[in-house]
């Protein structure tokens, strides 16, 4: 199950989609909208996606997880649009015969999704400010640097 949705994520459906008699372990990860980051108070978040590439990229994550870990089933559902405090922005479920593999695959999937999948988060703070979140973005004041940031690792590159 690979989906990019606008409605609230039904994480039970995500979890059910990976359950199997061949699996002894299921791991579900939920990313939820947190109110405080350091001393800043969030009112709500807005997620924007490059839909077509985001879905292709999530499908590639599933394929790569299957080649790296002995997983049975993988489900990745990301939501876009406005989300209020406590709402679920992403759900990732993995099943595997043994729990160590399920944990490692689940951890790898969310870590890699955050590096690769073209989705962006805009914070709307309680003081009215709004701000795109761009990890590692270094504004180059006034100069057109020809440097390019390291590309997100693609399939087949170093882990």
């Amino acid at each position: 199950m690979i989906q990019l949705v606008t409605d609230p994520i039904d994480y039970s459906a995500v979890t059910e989609s990976v359950r199997s008699n061949d699996a002894g372990a299921v791991i579900l990860f939920l990313g939820t909208v947190r109110e405080f980051t350091r001393n800043e108070q969030t009112s709500w978040l807005e997620y924007e996606a490059y839909d077509e590439m985001a879905i292709a990229s999530m499908a590639q994550l599933e394929a790569e997880a299957r080649s790296r870990f002995p997983v049975k089933e993988v489900a990745i559902v990301h939501r876009k649009g406005r989300m209020d405090l406590g709402e679920i922005s992403v759900a990732i479920a993995v099943s595997s015969p043994h729990r160590a593999d399920a944990y490692e695959a689940g951890r790898w999937l969310i870590d890699t999704l955050k590096e690769r999948v073209p989705i962006w988060k805009k914070e709307h703070y309680s003081d009215g400010r709004e701000e795109w979140q761009h990890p590692g973005m270094t504004p180059v004041a006034g100069s057109d640097s020809s440097a390019t940031p390291k590309l997100p690792a693609e399939k087949g590159e170093a882990r």
């Binding site: 490059y50 955050k114 073209p118 962006w120 180059v140 020809s146 390019t148 940031p149 590309l151």
Partner: protein, 81 residues
């Protein structure tokens, strides 16, 4: 030749539009496209060092050679999850 550029998130805000058609000479790379874009939309320069580029849903480096009618996505580091 002509490519379509899609902008997302802070790159769209800086470009002031979500897409632009750009004329390039045959054999142009993403680097060439970048130079053309910076001339046309100077506000993009402030984040130019952080921009990522994708062609046909795949990340590409600045050395990637473009083809006529390519759709190129231009965006800052991702922050989903």
């Amino acid at each position: 030749m002509r490519v379509q550029v899609l902008f997302f998130a802070a790159a769209r805000d800086a470009a002031g539009t979500d897409s632009l058609a750009i004329e390039l000479s045959h054999g142009a790379t993403i680097q060439d496209l970048k130079v053309a874009l910076m001339n046309q939309t100077p506000r993009l320069s402030s984040i130019s060092g952080s921009l990522l580029w994708a062609v046909n849903n795949q990340y590409q480096s600045l050395q990637h050679v473009l083809k006529d009618h390519d759709t190129v996505a231009c965006f800052p580091p991702v922050s989903g999850g």
